[in-house]
Amino acid sequence: MMKVVEGSYAIAQAVKCCDPDIVSAYPITPQTHIVEDLSKMVADGELKAEFLTVDSEFTALSVLVGSSAMGARSYSSTTSQGLALMYEVLYNVSGLRMPIVMTVANRAMGAPLNIWNDQQDAVGARDCGWIQLYAENVQEAMDLTPQAYKLAEDPDILTPVMVCMDGFILTHVYEPVEFLDHDKVKQFLPPFKPKVTLDPAHPVTIGAFADPSYFTEYRYLQQEAQKKALGKIGPIAKEFNEIFGRYYGGLIDTYRMDGADAAIVTMGSVVGTIKDALDEMWAEGKKVGLVKVRSYRPFPVKALRDALKDVSSIAVIEKDVSIGNEAGLTTDLKSAFYNTGMKTPIIGFAAGLGGRDITIQDIKRAGTKALAAARGPEEEFEFLTLRKEIL
């Protein structure tokens, strides 16, 4: 059934279809509507889950450490400062190999205090061991939710997943979405069968102290699981497509890359605006294509090398800054190419920071610079739409 609903409600509906045993969350803009909708579903008996209203985001995720250790399917959602408050638990969850799924309604990190969208929060947490998937629109964010559980709970993976969706832009938009069918989700996502749980009949110790003779191997196994996830994200998306008839690409997706001279690489909801901008650019004879990164962690090095091998220049548009260097996706992309000997110029743009609107004109400007960068970049990294007059 297709309906026009708010993005947050759509996510709540998708979460409901995944039959979580427990939802634990702390309110923070722009994530609030998701958990409000879930709490209403619990109050109305539509969702038979434990719903814990807790004292902080730190506690919200910590509660899920306990529930996940019990083998329960566990869900939370947060953003920005809340994600930062979870930082210590993020490493803990991934290190304990807990298949928790969390929707991150991407938002800027203060100071200055700012409630609007960018992706600094999640990109800043890229090294925490979580898989990070980014959605272009509400439907994709919805559909990624059961896919995320399927990936996280795979015995070869057992790694938590963040489903990242741009705050406000996707959480607060009303647009038509196809609701997930509960029975079909059950077919796609069978109940979680944990290998190890806390049970007095079979006592186990979870969360032991690992000295230098064991720690490296823990990390290595996490890295291996992320590598294996590279081989599962695409097939899971295809399996979803077979049941639900919707597909958004695997690790990456491309648009107008055939015959493109330059490419824009990005992730999240700006993909849609870029597609419209590129249609206009091609009509003007400017052949710029798009590569959409769906999986930021694990980072799809091979898929990106293949997709970008034929363009003469690349521009990354991303909603974050690695303050003191360039920005996450730009750096990651450059590192993906270094050892291939490929010398395609790569330039980076920080855009949409703290909710700054990204217009079609802005994209076309970046695309034009990308084409020009083939002759050698003027600037390697810059802030798109910088208001120089107020500096």
């Binding site: 006592p203 186990v204 110790t205 032991a208």
Partner: protein
């Protein structure tokens, strides 16, 4: 990570002084067993015997014994 698997580590190796129980003085009050941090004082045929595989030689048992039936002596290894 088997339950109780620290038992593979014989902490008796940490010990300098070893408890010696004078079974004749022992009143079987079991305080040594209760207070032992290692939980390594065992009842064997009605007698309280420290398991020297784990005893770290802390001397709590000797200190707490109401009949002064336990003495700590320098262990010769």
């Amino acid at each position: 990570m088997g339950p109780g698997s620290t038992q593979v580590t014989k902490t008796g190796a940490w010990r300098t002084f070893v408890p010696v129980v004078d079974q004749k003085r022992c009143s079987k009050c079991s305080l040594c067993e209760i207070y032992c941090p290692e939980g390594c004082i065992r009842r064997v045929e009605g007698m309280f015997i420290p398991d020297l595989d784990y005893c770290k030689g802390c001397s709590i048992c000797a200190h707490e014994c109401p009949r002064k039936a336990i003495t700590m002596i320098l262990e010769e290894k």
